[in-house]
Structure formats: structure tokens, C-alpha cells
């Protein structure tokens, strides 16, 4: 089986987000970048499914040379080889077209994506790539099992889950539960240095969106403290003052 795991390079979750140039650019100075947490789950599941030589895992990333440490981390987690499309991942539509173009030239059985990237939260690349390629897609998958030419997937729905059967090839986006994220071991890290990382040039894609500016959430006022031995008055405040119950 050939698995393609598409990864994003995103700011570390502890990052305090702020903007420069009159709020038009994300301030990356001092920011640590990491592998998108959902993509770690994709790799972990792909590695489990590949055990015993049953699968080959290719990492695909649309990004500039600065992302290569993150690609090496993905390789250290057990992927076999990687491809970087040398371009700024400016919007989801652009990224989806790069990925789809690569997929058209290489036959993969399962395309893995994260349910969203924790920076722009678009949650769109999986569906877009699948539509361009004309294959099924399942978003927010928390369980994936293979059965010959089919897969059994659990996807998250409001207040529950749905169990689906999908024909291979298909795309899915990962969420918590799909696998446990692993920490790369020493052997993984060493071998990642020599695993193949090919760089390709992007195809031309029209612009569908442009970012005008960013805004930080409005800071809240000072907290109104209620004494713990008078906890009941919180309920009255929420009812008559805040009007939320």
C-alpha cells in the first residue's frame, strides 16, 4: 500500500500570537515551528498500517526551505521518503492544487491530511484535493482500519460517530483517536537524515483569497470574583446580570 501523508509546518502551541506591519503579517520572530499535531496522528497511523513491510509512506509538504527540519521530523517518525513542493503555502486552494498535481503523477492508495492546521484552521485541503482527483474523502476520522480494497473509518459527528466503508483510493483527515502520537526515537532521528527528500517546483495556480489584516481578540475586563462560601450568588449573577442562564 502506498500512503501519502500531507503535512503542515505550524507555530508551536505555546506561541503568543502577534502581528507586525500594521497587523498585516504574522510576527514569526522568535516563533518555534512544529509539525502540525494532527499530521503526527496521520503519520502514526500510517506507520502502524505499514508494519511488516505492508506499506510505504511518503511525506508531502508545500513550503519553503525553512520547513525542512519539520519534514525530517516526519521522516524520523517512520515515513520512508519526502517531497517538498518549493512554494509559500499561501492559501488552501493553492496548496490543494499542488498536492493534487503531485498525486496525479504518483498513484497513492490513501491520502492523509490533518483535520485542520492549527494556524489557519481552514480544514479544507483534504476535501479540495479529493474533489480535484475525483476520489472519496472522509473528514475528521478517528479510526481507520483496512480490509483488502476497502477501509472502515469512524468519523466524528455532532454527539456521536458514523462508521463508513470507503473504497480505496480515498483521502481522509485525522483527528484525535486515530492513533497515539509518538516521539521519534534515536534510530528514527538518525535514519531521517539520509532518507530521500526531493524538492519539486510548484505549478501555477490562480489566487482565490488574500489576507487583508489580522486582529487580536479584545481583552476581557477584570474578573468579578465571588466568594466560595457564597457560590450561589454566582448563579444569580449569571441569570440576572450576564443573562446567560
Amino acid at each position: 500500500m502506498k500512503f501519502l501523508v500531507c503535512i503542515s509546518n505550524v507555530p508551536d502551541t505555546t506561541t503568543k500570537i502577534n502581528f507586525t506591519e500594521n497587523n498585516t503579517h504574522f510576527n514569526t520572530s522568535g516563533v518555534q515551528f512544529i509539525l502540525n499535531p494532527y499530521d503526527e496522528l496521520s503519520i502514526a497511523r500510517a506507520v502502524e498500517l505499514s508494519e511488516g513491510g505492508k506499506g510505504e509512506i511518503t511525506i508531502l509538504h508545500v513550503g519553503e526551505i525553512g520547513s525542512e527540519p519539520t519534514i525530517r521530523k516526519a521522516l524520523a517518525l517512520g515515513a520512508d521518503n519526502a517531497v517538498r513542493i518549493n512554494a509559500n503555502p499561501k492559501d488552501a486552494y493553492y496548496v490543494a492544487h499542488q498536492i493534487a498535481h503531485f498525486c496525479k503523477q504518483n498513484a497513492f492508495d490513501i491520502l492523509f491530511f490533518g483535520r485542520e492546521s492549527i494556524d489557519y484552521n481552514g480544514a479544507q485541503v483534504c476535501g479540495m484535493v479529493a474533489e480535484i482527483l475525483g476520489i472519496p474523502s472522509v473528514s475528521i476520522a478517528k479510526k481507520l482500519d483496512l480490509d483488502g480494497s476497502k477501509a472502515l473509518i469512524e468519523r466524528e459527528i455532532e454527539g456521536g460517530k458514523e462508521i463508513l466503508e470507503v473504497q480505496i483510493p480515498f483521502a481522509l483527515s485525522s483527528t484525535e483517536g486515530l492513533a497515539e502520537a509518538k516521539i521519534p526515537n534515536m534510530r528514527g532521528i538518525m535514519s531521517a537524515r539520509t532518507k530521500p527528500l526531493t524538492v519539486l517546483e510548484p505549478i501555477s495556480v490562480p489566487d482565490f483569497e488574500s489576507i487583508i489584516s489580522f486582529e487580536s481578540p479584545k481583552p476581557r475586563g477584570l474578573v468579578k470574583l465571588v466568594k466560595s462560601d457564597d457560590a450561589e450568588s454566582l448563579i444569580s449573577l449569571l441569570h440576572s446580570e450576564a443573562k446567560v442562564i
Binding site: R115, Y120, C126, G127, L164, V166, F208, F214, E215
Partner: protein, 323 residues
Amino acid sequence: MPILVFVEQTDGKFKKSAFEAVSFGFSLSKILKETLSVLSIGKVDKANLEELGRYGAERVLTVQTDSLHQFVNQAYASLIAQVADQIHASQVIMSNSFSAKGMAPRVAVKLKAAYAEAVVGLPEIGTEGMVVKRGVFSGKAFVFEKLLSEKTVITLAPNSFGLVENPVSIQIEEISPNLSPTDYGTLVKDIIRNTEKISLPDAERVVSAGRGMKGPENWKMIEDLAEVLGAATACSKPVSDAGWRPHSEHVGQTGIAVSPNLYIAIGISGAIQHLAGVSSSKVIVVVNKDPEAPFFKVADYGIVGDAFEVVPKLIEAAKALKG
């Protein structure tokens, strides 16, 4: 070029988020001076379809096909795009449900439309195009994005616009889908729904708890408080990682972002990743025995105290209020 709103039904009924999408679509149609059409897929009876009229849906198109009653990703995407093409819709709108997240991007590709996910308010219409506001960095910021194509697909973040009644007389038209076998690439084997609980992503009130609860065996009081307040239950990442609560309850940067009217956080310190997931809550209440807990800095109301003493009092007071 009309606005097309897709309303998702669950078991033949529409949830608040569907009516919110209609309210949003109606307001947008007034701004753009266009008409509004609403599309429903699945077996929904006339009485439920007529509810849509309360929020401004003058024209309702309904597909009552059996095989489409349960959500089928590709089939729904094809159908919505077909209807959008037939009525020459310029904007396609739907609520940002779990199903919409997987399906709306496919509609956008079919229509060659720009796609904006989880917008938090009406777009601004300028001479150069439509500008939408959406949450980014998992709740730590907002972005204003200009959509550069003639057609757009927009999903609306639940509980961001609210319900606006604009009652109109409604015209219902049943239409037949024109789909192909390739639209049915997925087959639903089973659906497991926990019908007693309020679903977290569209909840108006949330009661959330963290490691301060000390163990899963202590969660009954959290569930009791949630029940009396008509709230969904949620938790912090360490709690779901430890298996005390399901992953679907994990609120935070790598869980889900919620935007309820009320978020009560019990025994959660307020790490930056958790705060990211709750920043859109209208009112935040924090109960924690540590007065230095970072969560108090973003709280509207707070109690410094032992959750095991405070929460039972809150439950009693809430019951008295209800009674």
C-alpha cells in the same frame, strides 16, 4: 445571482445552527440585493420545512430521496453544486458542521469558488470583493480575508450570528437529484449517537473540567451541573489524553474551539492552548482553588475555592432557579 443556503437536517429536523445559516443568508441577500433560496436534502416533512420561513426562506428546494437522507459527502457536494449552477447562485452558505467541513471544500472546487470556513459575521462588500472575518491560530486571533472569485462558498461558525426572525411566506419545491454512482464513494454502515447529551460544537452553554477533578470517578457533579444548566460537557487536554473523558470533549488548540454564551471551567488552570479554544465564549466563569491560575485573567466571573465544595452549591442554586 441568488444566495443559496444549504440547511442540514438531522433525523428530519433542523437544529438551531441551520436556522442561523438561513438568518445569515437572509441578511446577506438584503445587503447584496439578491434573492434567497434554501436547499434541504433528506426526508423532512412540510411542517419542519415551513419553519425555515420564519427566518426569511422564501424559496425552499427539497430533495426527499431515501438514499440521501443520511449524509453522503460526495453526493451532497454534487447536489449542492448542481443546484447552485441551476439557479446561478453566487454565494453558497451553510453552517460549519462536521459534515460541512468535509463537504463544503468539495463544493468550492466544483464551483471554482473561493471558500471561507467558519466565518464569524456578515462579510463586508467592497468594490474589490467580499471580505470575511474568521478565527485563526485556533482562537488566538482573527483574520480579514478578501475572497477574489465571483462565486464564494461560506460556512458559518455556529452561535456566531444568532437567530434573526424575518417571517415570509414560503414556497416549497421538490426537486430530483441527478447523481452518478461515483457520488456514492462512501457507504454508511452505522451511526452511533449519544442522544441524551447536548452536542459540544453547537452548545450554547458548556461546563468544562480539568485535572483539578483528580479522577474520572469525580465527574458526576460536572455532568449534574451541565444537566441542570442545559449545557454540554467538555474537558482539558490532559483529561482526554488520560482517557478520563472522550477526545470529542477536548476543548483547546488541538481539540475543538467552542463559542458558547457561557463557558464554566472547573479545576482547569488555563494553559494558553486551552484558552485558545474558549476565547470566543461570551461569558467565561472560572472555579479554581489556585488564585494564581492563569484562567482568572480571561474570566468574567470567578470563584477561588475547592471545586468539590463549590460545584454542589452551584448545582443546588441552579436547580432552585429552574424550579
